[in-house]
Symmetry: C2
Subunit: 154 residues, 2 copies
DNA sequence: GTTTCATGTAACTAACAATGTTACATAATG
DNA sequence: CATTATGTAACATTGTTAGTTACATGAAAC
């Protein structure tokens, strides 16, 4: 089962945007995620609708952050992305007539729901500011200046 | 993201096997999971290798349980199925050079690992016997006799 | 005002993974 | 030895996701 890495990818570009004063184009961001600009726009659309980022057209346009890093959590971003399923496992049938399967579903559902709540809770406790702070710690520790271009393929 | 329902499906057939004295053929089990006999054999292969079920060929052959319901947990079954990924989310790159992405990965990895541990732990606490007991409770509550055939399409 | 540069979005294509199917070998039983 | 079952490889089908093309819209530069 292939894992959905949109959250990981978009957090990556959001933090790059946080390091930047002006707006960044879809093309630039796409390079950082080694993907296509249209894919960026597609994913960012959800964030724009929720007001986490702003898009400006034309010359000098592009994407910029429109939220406070301190109060925006990874869960917010996940939700803005569409809040897709967190678990790779699921029940075969949702409301089966078979009592055996009902028993199986009941047990699995409970376990699944619990794990989902834990994960959502965790994501809700991590702010973009924390990630940014962690990045700055790493940069200081490594003592290398940060240039986006130097870390991603052109 | 489509969810993997093999665990759900195979637990279903295992409990049906528990209700049966003799072996059950792949064809019969496939009917209960509304799938193909070969799919059953494919999935059951892992369980056979781990000794949870036994397969006998030829006349009167088929699948039968070879484990104690009390000591076999849902986690055992999950592992025997290949222990596939539990989460639908993942990181874009495993060991990125970009410090920003390292910070993102570190945070997500921790949250993911925690949720996975919770789920595995839960699955490890539920035995096949518990599911079976729950089924029997449901059967008594509903006061309807149980015939596998009557609950699944032919 | 027209050229350029950007996003917005629909439609299409490609790639991939999971499932289903066919075919045939192997083994056990009557 | 005919029948019935599993074992397994090979192939086909299906469905989802990501990638791409194409073009409309809007904003700034000139």
């Amino acid at each position: 089962m292939k894992r959905d890495s949109r959250l990981s990818g978009i957090l990556h570009v959001l933090l790059h945007m946080a390091e930047q004063s002006g707006p960044m184009t879809s093309e630039t961001l796409a390079a950082a995620m080694s993907t296509n600009p249209v894919v960026i726009r597609r994913i960012m659309a959800g964030l724009r609708e929720q007001g986490y980022v702003r898009a400006e057209r034309g010359h000098g346009g592009g994407w910029s952050l429109a939220c406070k890093l301190e109060t925006t959590t990874l869960r917010d971003i996940h939700d803005a992305l569409g809040g897709s399923a967190l678990l790779a496992l699921g029940n075969r049938t949702e409301s089966p007539g078979c009592l055996v399967e009902q028993a199986v579903n009941a047990a699995l559902d409970q376990a699944f729901r619990e794990a989902e709540q834990i994960l959502l809770g965790r994501l809700g406790q991590i702010s973009l500011a924390q990630l940014s702070a962690d990045f700055h710690r790493r940069r200081v520790a490594g003592a290398t200046p940060h240039h986006m271009e130097s870390h991603h393929a052109a």
